[in-house]
């Protein structure tokens, strides 16, 4: 078998994202189902709060499940592509021996395992957090909501996603494996599509061009770097803003999930970036380039996208909170006041810059360990 269980376990970031998504969905959807079973509220004001809580649970679950689910799918595609690229010779040999695309793609089911691990851990975590969430969301006037087990949630949040990912992995792998055999085996010249020389070709220094080409050759990493910074910006600011809206517990959850997502995505992106550039760094080292120079060539191009992600995150969290306040609390008399927190923004920005710089610095040290012998083998 080409793909081992160990390879599947490498998708730890997919597991973490699935954990976060299922963690939130478990307690929010459980709360939604338990709350919706309550009837007999006649007071108009209390009914409005009751409806607001139902909407909050629905919107939060939809956002966490949908958005993070999509990210997990993208990340799985990314891993499958990297796997095929880095094992192209072995896969090419198998194809040359007569294995078809579908027969090889079936082995990619292993990648669905990481989703199962994340989902089951998220479901368990959600149940552990549930009493605290129910307590935090309790409102005077609404009868106490009791925790009940809903089998449909177990099915939908623990067993359905891994099956979906199993098919997604298989389908994507089957498409990605539709490569020319010569391409997989490394006989690149004849099989690669030769693009015409760009008319916008500009003369640049080697390091400047290396920066740009590192980005353009790994576009999905740009997305994940920006997403990581988006998560940090949006969820740190949103987490702290929840305190002013009397939802501290939710704020803590949002903050923790945001930090976990941001760091997972950033570490995955930077690790992939280093692995993709090992040979380039080795040849630069051989020629006498210094550590700061190859760190710039590999990482510097991503900084504008990191800042862009941070900016979008800030706008997103402000817009979302404003929208939620207006939509959910529209019918409630005591609408919480929400204003953009300038001080919080600057504190988040400063910590972001510091953490980003530290991460890049720490991973630059890993570039130092790339052996110049890699080019001699």
């Amino acid at each position: 078998m080409v793909i081992s269980l160990k390879d599947g376990a490498k998708l730890i970031s997919v597991s973490v994202i699935c954990f976060c998504a299922v963690f939130v969905c478990t307690f929010m959807l459980n709360f939604y189902l338990d709350l919706s079973s309550i009837s007999g509220i006649s007071d108009g004001k209390i009914l409005a709060v009751y409806n607001a809580q139902l909407s909050t649970a629905k919107i939060t679950s939809a956002l966490a499940g949908g958005f993070l689910g999509l990210i997990a799918v993208l990340m799985t595609f990314f891993y499958i592509k990297i796997y095929i690229d880095s094992h192209s010779k072995q896969l090419g040999i198998l194809k040359a021996l007569g294995y078809g695309n579908f027969r090889l793609a079936i082995h990619f089911w292993v990648f669905g395992l990481s989703v199962f691990i994340g989902c089951i851990a998220g479901y368990a975590g959600g149940f552990i957090a549930m009493p605290y969430v129910y307590e935090g969301l309790a409102v005077n006037g609404i009868p106490a909501v009791e925790i009940n087990f809903h089998w449909q949630l177990l099915l939908g949040l623990v067993f359905a996603p891994p099956f979906a990912f199993l098919f997604i992995s298989f389908g994507y792998a089957a498409i990605a494996l539709k490569r020319n055999l010569g391409d997989l085996l490394g006989a690149k010249v004849l099989s690669q599509k030769i693009k015409p020389v760009s008319k916008s070709y500009k003369e640049r220094s080697f390091l400047a061009d290396m920066c740009i080409k590192t980005i353009s050759s790994k576009k999905l990493i740009v997305f994940f770097v920006a997403f990581s910074c988006f998560c940090y910006s949006a969820m740190v600011q949103m987490g702290f803003s929840m305190k002013t809206m009397n939802a501290s517990l939710m704020g803590v959850f949002i903050l923790l999930i945001g930090l976990v997502l941001a760091f997972t995505c950033m570490i995955m992106s930077v690790t992939s970036l280093i692995n993709a550039n090992r040979k380039n760094v080795a040849i630069m080292k051989t020629f006498g380039y210094k550590p700061a120079e190859y760190a710039v060539a590999v990482f510097a191009g991503y900084t504008p996208f990191a800042l862009l992600g941070f900016a979008i995150g800030t706008v997103y969290q402000y817009g979302l909170l404003k929208l939620m306040v207006n939509l959910i609390f529209a019918d409630v008399g005591e609408m919480p006041v929400y204003k953009f927190d300038v001080a919080l923004f600057f504190i988040t920005l400063l910590t972001f810059i510091a953490l980003y710089a530290i991460t890049v610095f720490l991973f630059s040290i890993r570039l130092l360990k790339v052996s110049v012998k890699e080019v001699m083998i």
Partner: protein, 228 residues
């Protein structure tokens, strides 16, 4: 100029002894071929005398600089200032144009004249192409241009014609030797091809991790006169 004394090198915690008490002198401006079969230790010796790798014991000295005593940072500086490399597998950066692959070397030396070097290897019309758009011979010429654009004092070549057909191999060798004679740099080539040794000033024969013979060629042949 370049002197290696009592070099020992082993791998696998000393279980595989690759170089055993190797001593070697290379004169300035000389074209030296290190000749040996696969596994004789010639590539390891080249890695050590070029500052890519450290020996277990012994010294390597280049114009009074003891490479074996240098720290990693200083070795990087040494390679930056003095050394050029040409590899059998080219190792061009696949996403960069021919021009920027050459600039990898040129920018290090502050060499703004790199376009002339691209022209001199006959690739001026392919400046903007990327490596996979070129034939093997053209890729090796980019590799040569990259190494020369760095204006090295000493050029190391590891089986530079190993991946080329006879005709392309001969023209590449001919070109390298002409440039060497024009620029006057020192050249050390590792090869298993006995015929190429006839082009060198000095031949160093290796076998089982040791030097078995060193001799000077009385008559030097061109790339088109040697067998293949």
């Amino acid at each position: 100029m370049l002197e290696a004394k009592n070099i020992f090198k082993s791998f696998n915690n000393g279980n595989v002894r690759v170089l055993k008490d190797v001593c070697l002198d290379i004169a300035e401006g000389d074209f030296t071929v290190i000749l040996g079969a696969s596994g004789s230790g010639k590539s390891t010796l080249m890695s050590i005398i070029s500052g890519l790798e450290r020996p277990d014991s012994g010294t390597v000295t280049y114009n009074g600089i003891q490479l074996t005593a240098l720290k990693d940072k200083e070795l990087t500086d040494f390679r930056r200032k003095y050394v050029g490399f040409i590899f059998q597998q080219y190792y061009l950066l696949p996403h960069l144009s021919v021009e920027n692959n050459v600039r990898l070397g040129a920018d290090l030396a502050g060499n703004r004249n790199y376009k002339n070097i691209i022209k001199s290897v006959g690739l001026e019309d392919k400046c903007k192409n990327r490596p996979f758009e070129l034939s093997g011979g053209e890729q090796q010429r980019v590799c040569i241009a990259r190494a020369l654009a760095k204006q090295p004092k000493i050029l190391f070549l590891d089986e530079p014609t190993g991946a080329l057909d006879e005709q392309t191999g001969r023209s590449v060798l001919d070109y390298i030797v002409k440039l060497k004679n024009l620029e006057g740099f020192t050249m050390v080539m590792v090869t298993h091809n006995q015929n190429i040794a006839e082009m060198a000033d000095t031949v160093v024969k290796m076998n089982s991790g040791g030097i078995t013979e060193v001799y000077k060629n009385s008559s030097i042949k061109s790339a088109y006169e040697i067998g293949w």
